[in-house]
């Protein structure tokens, strides 16, 4: 059910981000969603791609520090309060969102959000129980 995200450590210097996109482009990997967290010294690039294994191998060969992390892709109603309803459920269940970002493509009338929780399995259980649709990784990568 959960999806895998690839995280890459980047030093804050010119051209590092394009080094990543070049490696992915050369190996035919398509980026489906991304988020970049940065500090004054370094950044962490998080990617959802269509082929994790290929992306990870290519990036490692390119000398990057890479890690895969389980995340949850959930459908969020694309209307006011859609995201709030989901966050409220999680707060009540004592689950923290470490970070989140939006998926590029929409699914019908819904937006797709990528969540990283402190308790991935618990979060998925809460969301399912409350009728929030979770998109399976395999489906997500090619959506």
């Amino acid at each position: 059910m959960q999806a895998q995200q690839i995280s890459i450590f980047l030093e804050n210097k010119a051209g590092r981000l394009s080094d990543v996109t070049k490696i992915l482009s050369d190996s035919g990997v398509n980026i489906r969603a991304l988020s970049l967290a940065d500090t004054s010294d370094f950044g962490v690039l998080r990617l959802i791609v269509d082929n994790n294994a290929k992306a990870e191998e290519a990036l490692r060969n390119g000398g990057f520090t890479v890690k895969t992390t389980p995340v949850v892709a959930a459908l969020v109603n694309d209307r006011p309060g859609g995201l709030h309803g989901i966050l409220e459920l999680l707060t009540k269940a004592g689950i923290n969102v470490e970070y989140m970002y939006a998926f590029v493509a929409q699914s019908g009338d819904n937006a797709v959000m990528i969540f990283r929780f402190n308790k991935t399995d618990d979060a998925m259980a809460v969301l399912s129980e409350n009728g929030v649709e979770i998109i399976d990784g395999e489906k997500l990568y090619t959506m």
Partner: protein
Amino acid sequence: MIYNIEYETMPREALESIQLRRLQATLSRVFATVPFYRSKFLEAGLKPGNIKTLADLAHLPFTNKQDLRDNYPFGMFAVPMDNVVRIHASSGTTGQPTVVGYTARDIDTWAELMARALTAGGASRGDIIHNAYGYGLFTGGLGVHYGAEKLGASVIPVSGGNTRRQVIIMKDFGPSILTATPSYSLHLAEAAEEMGVSFKDLNFRFGVFGAEPWSESMRREIEEKLNLKAVDIYGLSEVIGPGVAIECHEAQNGLHIFEDHFIPEIIDPDTGQALPHGETGELVITSITKEAFPVIRYRTRDITSLNPEPCICGRTMVRMGKVSGRTDDMLIIRGVNVFPSQIESVLMEIDGVEPHYQLEVDRKDNLDILTARVEISDKAFSDEVKELQRLSSTIENNIKETLGVSVSVKLAEPKTIARSEGKAARVIDKRKL
């Protein structure tokens, strides 16, 4: 002014005869009381009686900092602890710092040498000395303190830190002599400026600066900003502390080594061969009056040269040039000795951190800034920024705790730090010294 005219202006011949007598007495004593020296001499096939001239000193084996560490803490002491009245230790070494001891007579000797040094630096009885060297295990603070008292000057034991209070004291007490590390003196100048205090209105005439390397351009900056004449002082705790050598304010050209207490040599650091006067190499020192902690041919790792030319101040003692570098990779950060290997051992103790690092030293606002680039491993990498920040601050705290210096850690991508290129790649020193 010269504090001890008899010794400081002694003709070479008389000085050398005193040196030989004192050297022979020291060798006999360490041979009898320090097992380390005894076995080193015997290994070299020598007994103290074989040293018949000053030139024979060159036959004796060297003593290294590692030898002192191997005999931690008191193994190199040449007197029973009953006779040791003071203990100091070198700054910032992991595991085993270098511990040194003093008898009551050693403390007297040291005070005499520091009284000579302060006098050469322009101080006399009527002066008030603002002593901003740190008091504690570090020899700087207490070394100057005892010398100032011996001289009969008034010493303010202000120690390091609390800079604003120091400025107020300088303004209100009117000290005429400043003793500090050169970098701290410039920091004081800036703090004074921020507080609207001008050194032009203060009473300072001379400053005695040491404990870290500094350049002629830094001297000019200090003299201009602090409105005083700046002289260089040299010493190291293994030998006695500050007061091994001092520049005279008359010439400001080389540091007179107090040769009635220390015999200096310059050697080629690679071959160990003695080099003639004028040539640049590593300074080696033998103490010839110390009781508790004599050192025989101690390799200081400091690079300099010796100049036997007569000096305009009248002192006959040989002058060493300003220290221009080190033969090892030791860095002096704000007066604290730091070896890159110490940083390495701190890194090795942190789970998931690679021992691949590069140190960069710079000087900003006249204070040394140490930055460590540390490669991140797959194991330590987290997709969460806060975890990575926690990792950097753990490294920073552990280094601060172990070495006593503040460091700013920058996480680096793997394999971006040069490998196997020796010491040079480990350290980038951007300070203009």
